[in-house]
């Protein structure tokens, strides 16, 4: 018998246990806020921390963390070769059969133990909230209990979203909690997804005050800098930032530094290295200070469904510079009136020069961003949207 105040969250990794990622952070925060409102929350996840190896590095078992019951299950053995072979075909837009799609899901990240746990206990949950959409774990779990599964898909316009198996996932599950209107529109285009089956929720952000001079002072930065925070990898567009900032420095002669926080390898031209500050993993406070002092927060990824770090930069009073191909990030910049979007290097150069040379405009954009996030993404508003979505999509 389902309890109206019992929810399960399913995510391949648990944010904070050596893992960082937008979707993981989003699901964890929704779970935390649901728990804080008196809902019994089970967070079901795997023992993996690395999204490259999916190695079981955490012990399986149950932990009480921040008011959540977190259950860690081991990742199944997988044939990485098969997975990568099919993934490469999908990535390059080659046709793959339904059997290959299933193989790709099977040899992605999965946990038979987690599925077995839900086979025994699914009926006790009012809803199972799962994400992101493209993992085998999400797919098999959701389709094992479609009537009570609500996807938090973090959907991107990418080859994986165009697979037949994903059409089935979205069609058969009970509903979706999208992060932004642009994501909902994308689901409409890809799967003819009816608006009635979804709600826009997103994630709340707590306002903060950060000293704009603190980060530069701590790291001895005397020149203006632009910032990127998060995972550094080609899919996130980090090589593009390095190439652009390098060309910008060479062409304009302006001494602008490039600051990174987060994890991953930085692929940059050798001549740019003396002008890169890789702060690595930093505390939330230091990240916010880095954001507050930056000329602009650059988000070059085209595969975003929400853009948490962009919204954090807005909260820090810093304008965004985002890729024009990311409809979600562009829509956030447009809605907030706090960021510019570039199609190519010439746009980037012009817009960065504009921000460097117009501190008043920069401050005006930053102030709008702060007001927008404080207004639209305050936790009480997000909690209301979340529970309204539950009532609409999984009524008691």
């Amino acid at each position: 018998m389902a309890a109206p105040d019992r929810l399960a969250f399913v995510c391949p990794r648990f944010a904070g246990e050596g893992a960082v990622g937008g979707a993981e952070t989003l699901l964890k925060n929704l779970a935390l806020h649901a728990a804080a409102r008196g809902v019994a929350v089970d967070f079901l996840t795997t023992c993996a921390q690395s999204h490259y190896t999916w190695e079981n590095t955490l012990p399986p078992g149950v932990k009480e963390m921040d008011g959540l019951t977190v259950r860690f299950f081991p990742v199944d053995d997988r044939d990485v070769g098969t997975f990568l072979r099919i993934q490469q075909s999908i990535d390059r837009g080659r046709p793959v059969s339904e059997a290959e799609e299933l193989l790709w899901l099977r040899h992605g990240v999965n946990s038979a133990a987690l599925l077995a746990h839900l086979d025994r206990h699914a009926a006790a949950y009012r809803a199972i909230l799962l994400g992101p959409y493209l993992f085998g774990l999400t797919w098999f779990t959701a389709l094992a209990h479609p009537e009570r599964s609500l996807l938090v898909p973090c959907l991107h316009d990418e080859p994986f979203a165009k697979l037949a198996c994903m059409k089935r996932l979205f069609a058969e599950t009970a509903g979706c909690l999208f992060n932004a209107q642009a994501e909902r529109e994308l689901a409409g285009e890809l799967f003819a997804y009816p608006d009635a089956k979804s709600r826009i929720v997103g994630m709340g952000l707590d306002p903060f005050a950060a000293d704009p001079a603190a980060f530069a002072k701590r790291h001895g930065l005397t020149a203006p800098y632009v910032l990127y925070s998060g995972r550094r990898e080609p899919l996130k567009g980090t090589p593009l930032i390095c190439d652009y900032v390098h060309a910008f420095r060479e062409r304009t002669g302006r001494d602008v530094k490039l600051v990174f926080t987060g994890s991953g390898t930085i692929d940059a031209p050798a001549a740019l290295w003396p002008h890169i500050l890789d702060a690595g993993f930093v505390s939330e406070t230091e990240k916010h200070e880095a954001m507050a002092g930056a000329v602009a927060f650059i988000h070059p990824s085209v595969n975003e469904s929400f853009g948490i770090v962009l919204l954090e930069a807005f909260l820090a009073g810093t304008p965004g510079l985002v890729h024009a191909k990311s409809r979600v990030l562009v829509s956030q910049c447009r809605a907030a009136g706090a960021g510019l979007w570039f199609r190519h290097y010439p746009d980037f150069e012009t817009q960065l020069l504009y921000l460097l040379d117009n501190p008043e405009a920069r401050a005006a954009l930053g102030a709008r961003g702060r007001d927008f996030v404080a207004r639209e993404y305050a936790w009480p508003a997000i909690e209301r949207k979340f529970f309204d979505a539950l009532d609409a999509l999984r009524p008691v």
Binding site: R251, G339, Y345, P346, Y354
Partner: protein
């Protein structure tokens, strides 16, 4: 390269769309004027090309940048060493190795430059031909539509 601010913003409620549109219009004009016909721009765009496939004007712009980038000069880079210890010594060693290998590398380099030049010329020719053919077809289409009466408002 112009570093002059394009616009100034201050009015409350100023739409960011308008600002982006104004900045992009300026960029488009500068692209046409050849301000970005620069090998450095071509190199910077290498990871962005996949996102520009849908752009009508970009191929012409990119080919212009490429024209400057294809004739590479293999002597124009600085030999660096990121290891702190023995850095200058390692740089000197690499410079000697580089000089000793010049006899071989210059021959390859000059042949590669010739190939690059021929390829870019062929690509430019193909692009010009396609553009001319499409323009002629569009013109013909308009004439046919007018003749059929579809062009009347």
């Amino acid at each position: 390269m112009s570093a002059t601010p394009v616009l100034s913003v201050g009015a409350p409620g100023y739409a960011v769309d308008r600002l982006v549109a104004d900045l992009q219009a300026t960029v488009d004009r500068k692209v046409r004027d050849g301000v970005y016909a620069d090998a450095r721009v071509a190199r910077a765009e290498k990871t962005n090309l996949v996102h520009l496939r849908g752009s009508d004007d970009f191929l012409t712009f990119y080919l212009t940048c490429l024209r400057d980038a294809v004739f590479v000069d293999i002597s124009d880079f600085e030999i660096r060493e990121r290891r702190r210890f023995f850095g200058p010594l390692l740089v000197a060693f690499k410079q000697v190795v580089w000089k000793l290998l010049k006899f071989y590398t210059y021959r390859l380099w000059s042949q590669q430059n010739q190939v690059n030049g021929l390829v870019i010329t062929a690509l430019e020719g193909m692009e010009e031909q396609s553009a001319a053919r499409i323009a002629a077809l569009e013109k013909r289409l308009v004439e046919l539509e007018k003749a059929a009466g579809h062009g009347r408002s």
